[in-house]
């Protein structure tokens, strides 16, 4: 069962069946129009008008608008469902698109009489030209017309038979994805035997028209074949034995892919992939403190910093290095020191629960950051200049495959595997149960004999250890540590990964790290809008899939049994002593 369902039709009961389609269309159109205005005025549309999705056909900025218009039409059709005739549905989509477009037309008109730039930096002639296909303000009617057409088209697509609709939308989505990733796919291909093909498919930026067509075809054909629901349905038909037999080679292939991943990557992507692996590691670690023990530790970065600076000091060959140890000798020390910090910082937090705990730990993160950059510790930690010249763990030649971030990738991966194993064992252990029990009901856990102080401190220690390990690897990945590396954002990233991926779920952490760390890093060209993306992902998640993308078994059960609990009468009556 998937939790992503269309929002229930939130239609006021007063609306009679006759004008239902209109009220839905107006409302959806206004929402889409507001979104489109936002995209324009924050500069997303004009900025990305210089980045083609398909060469000489469409730019990313235009795509943003197309998506908004089509969303208006699709949204109207989805909300109407079977409540309106097909004709009305298409009309509704057209009206919704028209409204959304008209809002942009109004913006252009307004812009032609008043200079909006004092308030909105991006409300400039450049924007008007994007919106009107270079016709200037006299073409103000263009967005409304385009909106109406696209809105109606999208609604019509929705009315198509399921398989066809799926193919069409999947094809379009594939073009979008390939267009976004074009640069990343092209760079490594260019240097190999595939360079001819790369030039055929990809332009310097975005896709060639041929590439777009092929992408569309691939999406339209492949996605319906490998639709998750279809795969799941087929898997369910298999017997338990068969499932086990197929799981092994499937897992093997996946593992092989993960291990060989760096082979095909350029140095930039390799760095990103290593960073993802690093965040997977930290996410798994926090999953133990937060997912099991329920301690919302926003001071994660404090222990991360301790790990990073310890490794920096112990291994750096630069000015502030004190020992010039190898990475391997320094890491255990870093982890132990981070654990000690965990105990020391954990003690005053013992009595705190929930929000208070989160805020207090938040403070620790800041304290450590400020200390690291302070004049007080400058003689040892280098102040804002930080610690540099931190060597890589493996001393290999510069041409080696393992030279750059690749070795960090493997190290982080290995550590992540160990942590995943530890987490899995812990979940089934006496200590793991005690953590879950404390998280749910401290009083009862204590009454059953759980020593709260000991058990909580253990959770902090373990969380700190994993954060410290993350920091240690981080330091050698980048070869340096600065106070500015110790951002609150590190803590927030890790927490968000768990929430987006699904609390307590190991595959969830991997997916969360890819979505929240990988995508924003890969799309550096959009770096200004990273947080916008971030916010949008979090809001959409909370709205449509609060249990996370790949929830653990328990998380899923929890989110979906509420109905039974709300009805104590039937629940009790259902039980008869046997």
């Amino acid at each position: 069962m998937t939790a992503v369902t269309a929002p229930p039709p939130t239609v006021a009961p007063i609306a009679s069946a006759r004008d239902l389609w209109l009220s839905v269309a107006i409302r959806t159109g206004l929402i889409a129009g507001a979104t489109a205005l936002y995209l324009c005025l924050t500069g997303i549309v004009p900025t990305f008008d210089s980045r083609p999705l398909i060469r000489d056909v469409i730019t990313l900025g235009q795509v943003a608008l197309v998506v908004a218009f089509m969303a208006a039409g699709l949204g109207t059709a989805i909300r109407l469902g079977t409540q309106a005739s097909p004709g009305r549905t298409v009309l509704g989509g057209t009206v919704a698109g028209l409204i959304a477009g008209a809002m942009l037309s109004a913006l252009v008109l307004l812009g032609s009489v008043v200079d909006l730039r004092a308030m909105f930096l991006h409300a400039s002639p450049a924007l008007w030209n994007v919106l009107t296909f270079e016709m200037g303000t006299s073409g103000f009617w263009v967005p409304a017309a385009v909106g109406a057409v696209l809105g109606g088209l999208a609604a019509a697509i929705w009315l198509l038979p399921g398989a066809l609709r799926m193919s069409l939308l999947a094809g379009l989505a594939m073009v979008l994805v390939m267009g976004l990733f074009a640069g990343l796919l092209r760079a490594p291909m260019l240097s190999g035997p595939l360079s001819g093909l790369a030039r055929q498919l990809f332009a310097a930026e975005g896709l060639q028209p041929i590439g777009a067509l092929l992408s569309f075809a691939a999406g339209a054909i492949l996605v319906p074949l490998f639709r998750p629901s279809r795969i799941r349905a087929r898997a369910q038909r298999l017997s338990r034995e068969q499932r086990r037999v197929t799981a092994v080679p499937l897992g093997g292939v996946l593992l092989l892919l993960v291990l060989l991943l760096p082979l095909g990557l350029g140095p930039f992507v390799a760095q990103v992939v290593a960073l993802i692996a690093l965040y997977v590691l930290m996410g798994l670690g926090l999953n133990i403190t937060l997912g099991l023990a329920g301690l919302l530790d926003l001071g994660f970065v404090a222990f991360f910093a301790v790990g990073a600076y310890t490794v920096g000091l112990l291994t750096s060959t630069g000015e502030y290095g004190i020992a010039q140890w190898s990475f391997w000798a320094a890491v255990p020390v870093a982890v132990v020191i981070a654990m000690l910090f965990g105990v020391v910082l954990g003690l005053p937090l013992l009595g705190m629960r929930g929000d208070y705990l989160a805020i207090a730990t938040l403070g620790f993160g800041e304290i450590i950051r400020i200390l690291a950059g302070s004049d007080l510790l400058k003689p040892w930690l280098g102040g804002p200049r930080g610690i540099t010249n931190i060597p890589k763990p493996l001393d290999v030649g510069p041409d080696s495959f393992l030279a750059g971030p690749n070795q960090i990738y493997y190290i982080a991966l290995a550590c992540a595997a160990v942590i995943a194993f530890v987490a899995w064992r812990l979940r089934a252990s006496r200590l793991g149960r005690a953590w879950i029990a404390i998280r749910e009901d401290e009083d009862v856990a204590e009454a059953l004999g759980v020593n709260l102080v000991q058990t909580k401190i253990l959770a902090y220690m373990l969380g700190a250890a994993f954060a410290g390990l993350g920091g240690a690897i981080f330091a050698s990945l980048y070869g340096s540590v600065f106070p500015s590396s110790i951002q609150l954002l590190v803590s927030i990233n890790v927490v968000a990964i768990i929430i987006v991926g699904g609390m307590g779920s190991i595959p969830g952490v991997v997916v969360g790290a890819i979505v929240l760390i990988g995508l924003p890093e890969l799309f550096r060209e959009f770096s200004e809008y990273r947080f916008l993306f971030y916010g949008a992902v979090l809001i959409l998640m909370m709205r449509f899939r609060p249990e996370g993308l790949i929830p653990s078994r328990i998380g899923r059960q929890e989110m979906h049994h509420d109905a039974a609990e709300d009805d104590p009468l039937t629940a009790t009556a259902a039980v008869e002593p046997s």
């Binding site: 749910e440 259902a574 002593p577």
Partner: protein, 237 residues
């Protein structure tokens, strides 16, 4: 010497004086019941005995040993286990894991497994549900689980807080039968109930609480026959 001896207990919630000098005893092998209207202080009394609340004054003694300085998590090993009001099973843990939590202080695996089997024999429902997370159990099943969980630690004294609350009549019957059979195995029980009639039927003695004080203390039979008690707590006019 009584198994449990509570003397002049005063417990506060901030400024609210919830217990105003409660004294009671439970002898080895007895079922003693605390009855009283909502807000009389029954739960507060149990929570103070189990040290989830700290009294401002008064003592709790187990076989003569003062518990004032014993931390709450040590009480289990001394033989006092509470089934809290409202069940409070660990919703994210499976039925079996809840039972294992009940045996948290026991290290011997064989003893734990034997305890789990005993729980399943007493409540066959739980066996069917053993791998299910307990948040998805019905109210009755959760009550069974809470009781089975408490028995895992082999208590000498079981503190039961309103075990029949919110359950269907047939289930209430079953719970009271279970209380009797737990008692028959030699466990002493301090039973808090609103369901005074049935509580007095299984208990040997009872205390009537009102606004934080003991109003009456007598044998269960005498309380059940008492006019005032019948009027106030047994629903007779």
């Amino acid at each position: 010497m009584a198994l449990l001896e509570v003397e002049d207990l005063h417990t506060y919630y901030g400024n609210i004086h919830a217990l105003k000098g409660i004294s009671l005893t439970v002898e080895e092998g007895e079922i003693v019941t605390l009855i009283g209207t909502n807000g009389a202080g029954k739960t507060t009394t149990l929570n103070t005995i189990s040290r989830l609340l700290t009294p401002r004054q008064g003592t709790v003694r187990l076989e003569g040993q003062d518990l004032s300085h014993v931390p709450a998590h040590r009480l289990v090993t001394m033989g006092i286990v509470q089934v809290p009001e409202g069940r409070r099973v660990f919703a994210r843990l499976t039925v079996e894991e809840n039972l294992r939590m009940g045996a948290f202080t026991i290290k011997d695996k064989a003893v734990i497994d034997e305890g789990i089997e005993r729980g399943y024999t007493m409540f066959p429902r739980l066996k069917e549900r053993s791998k299910q997370v307990s948040g998805t159990l019905s109210g009755g099943e959760q009550q069974m689980l809470a009781m089975a969980r408490a028995l895992m630690a082999k208590p000498r004294l079981l503190l039961l807080d309103e075990p029949s609350m919110g359950l269907a009549p047939t289930l209430v019957e079953f719970i009271f039968e279970t209380i009797t059979s737990i008692h028959a195995e030699g466990v002493s029980i301090l039973l808090v109930e609103q369901n005074a009639l049935q509580a007095l039927a299984v208990a040997s003695r009872g205390y009537v609480l009102q606004t934080g004080k003991v109003l009456m203390a007598d044998t269960a039979a005498a309380l059940a026959a008492n006019e005032d008690v019948r009027r106030a707590y047994l629903g007779e006019i």
